[in-house]
């Protein structure tokens, strides 16, 4: 996603105590599509920097009062001044000034006397490098943020020196606060349960020989917390010819916990279902005989046991019993 956030006409701050030098810089750069702001000394440069926020600073080394090195250091300390490209104008053979320029935080230097035809190209090149650097920093930030949200990291295992390097999120998943330090493979293996180690070793050996590997494994953090990691890795080759195994890894602890909880819930539901079936089978068997007897006697009462008056009186009662027991019987059969 390459893009440039700067103005359509980049603004260059030209800092030189010499009027002729500023004039020629302006002429050379304005004709090549840059806008120029001039400052004749270090103090004016710092004020102008804060005011116009230039895209690049062209800074002379030899100036009275605050020299170019001190000005460069002061710009670097300003808000937004830490990354703005600064080109220092130094003598062609002035190696010491060139070294001091870099130490003061300059991005690059340009030799004096300045080649005016070359100057716009040098400026444009420095801006392009700055764009690339800014895009790279932005991409890194976005990737780290995306990895944080998705709990995904990436790692790189170097078989020759038996170390692993990993991204911020991968380090966090493995409980390692310092991601910049390479980890020994041995220390990583200590976090894998003993029963799993042979499987993991075998997989990495296969990856080293070109196989794409993909598996889940539990890890135990120094804090004794158990996490589950899903990992994919494959072989790649560095520019120096050294091969390495790299890939993404994801913290799947939450997913794994839900899976485990679902398995437990499913087993419990199955057990409860079995118990209910057994209970109802026993109950229906035990109830059948007495209920038949009750129905039989109730029918007998209803039909013939009492006189006309009693008959009317108990008819509703006995029919009520028959209905209730029948409903109860049907419910038991349906279970």
């Amino acid at each position: 996603m390459p893009y440039s956030s700067r103005r359509s006409t980049p603004l260059i701050l030209v800092v030189d105590d010499d009027e002729m030098q500023r004039f020629l810089c302006r002429e050379a750069l304005e004709t090549s599509g840059f806008e120029i702001v001039e400052a004749s000394d270090g103090a004016a440069a710092l004020a102008a920097f804060g005011e116009v926020e230039p895209d690049l600073v062209l800074l002379d080394v030899v100036m009275p009062e605050i020299d170019g090195f001190a000005t460069c250091r002061a710009i670097r300390a300003l808000p937004n001044g830490s990354t703005t490209p600064i080109l220092m104008a130094t003598g062609l053979d002035d190696i010491q000034s060139i070294e001091l320029s870099y130490e003061a935080g300059a991005t690059d230097f340009i030799s004096k006397p300045i080649n005016w035809a070359l100057l716009p190209h040098r400026v444009r090149n420095a801006l392009r490098a700055d764009d690339l650097l800014n895009n790279f920093i932005l991409s890194e930030k976005m990737l780290a943020e995306a990895q944080r949200i998705a709990a995904v990291g990436n790692f790189r295992w170097s078989p020759t020196n038996r170390t692993i390097r990993w991204s911020v999120e991968a380090a966090r998943i493995f409980g390692d606060e310092n991601c910049s330090r390479p980890q020994s493979m041995r220390s990583i293996f200590r976090r894998i349960p003993v029963a799993e180690r042979a499987r993991v070793k075998r997989a990495f050996r296969q990856a080293r020989h070109g196989k794409v590997i993909e598996f889940d494994l539990p890890i135990v953090l120094p804090s004794d917390e158990t996490r589950y990691v899903s990992l994919r890795a494959e072989l790649a080759c560095a520019k120096n010819g050294e091969s390495f195994v790299h890939g993404p890894l994801q913290d799947i602890t939450d997913r794994k916990r839900i899976e485990l909880a679902l398995e437990v819930a499913r087993d419990e539901a199955q057990a409860a279902d079995t118990a209910k079936t057994a209970f109802l089978a026993a109950m229906s068997h035990e109830f059948r005989t007495p209920l038949n007897a009750i129905i039989g006697f109730a029918e007998l009462i209803a039909n013939q046991a009492f006189g006309q008056i009693a008959n009317e009186r108990y008819l509703a009662f006995s029919q009520n019993i028959i209905t209730r027991v029948s409903v109860c019987w049907t419910q038991l059969r349906m279970c």
Binding site: D18, E19, M20, F23, L24, A28, V62, D93, P113, N115
Partner: protein, 133 residues
């Protein structure tokens, strides 16, 4: 390095050349229809500022002030190189080096030579100015 118009200033000072024509060619390349007078204005700026710098050199030599000699010779060196006055620029470079190394006597002795070289360059630049006008 040979393509670089001003390389001779520091790498190969040629005492016989007063002005380097390649510098004017480079300046003329910057000129556009709406900016037709860059050569003339550059020479004009140079001739305006040079007397003041020469005065600083004279005073520096009298007061044996190596800091002042270093500053003035540095600016005159850069400006002279910008107008192609390569012999003068080389002489200023020499003076600046002596002044910055604290060699007072040698630096003061060279000031006279710088002033002489300037008169020669001045004459030729005035000619260029007439041509550019």
């Amino acid at each position: 390095v040979t393509d670089f118009p001003f390389a001779s200033v520091t790498l190969d000072p040629s005492p016989n050349d007063v002005l380097d024509e390649r510098v004017f060619a480079a300046l003329r390349q910057l000129q556009r229809a709406d900016r037709p007078d860059i050569v003339r204005r550059t020479i004009g700026l140079y001739l305006d500022s040079a007397p003041h710098l020469l005065e600083e050199l004279r005073e520096g030599a009298i007061s044996r002030d190596v800091a002042a000699l270093g500053r003035a010779s540095h600016t005159l060196k850069s400006n002279s190189a910008n107008v192609g006055a390569i012999r003068l620029a080389a002489r200023c470079n020499e003076l600046e080096t002596l002044a910055r190394s604290g060699m007072v006597a040698e630096a003061c002795a060279l000031v006279h030579g710088v002033i002489e070289d300037f008169s020669t360059a001045n004459a030729e630049l005035s000619e260029q100015l007439k041509k550019a006008a």
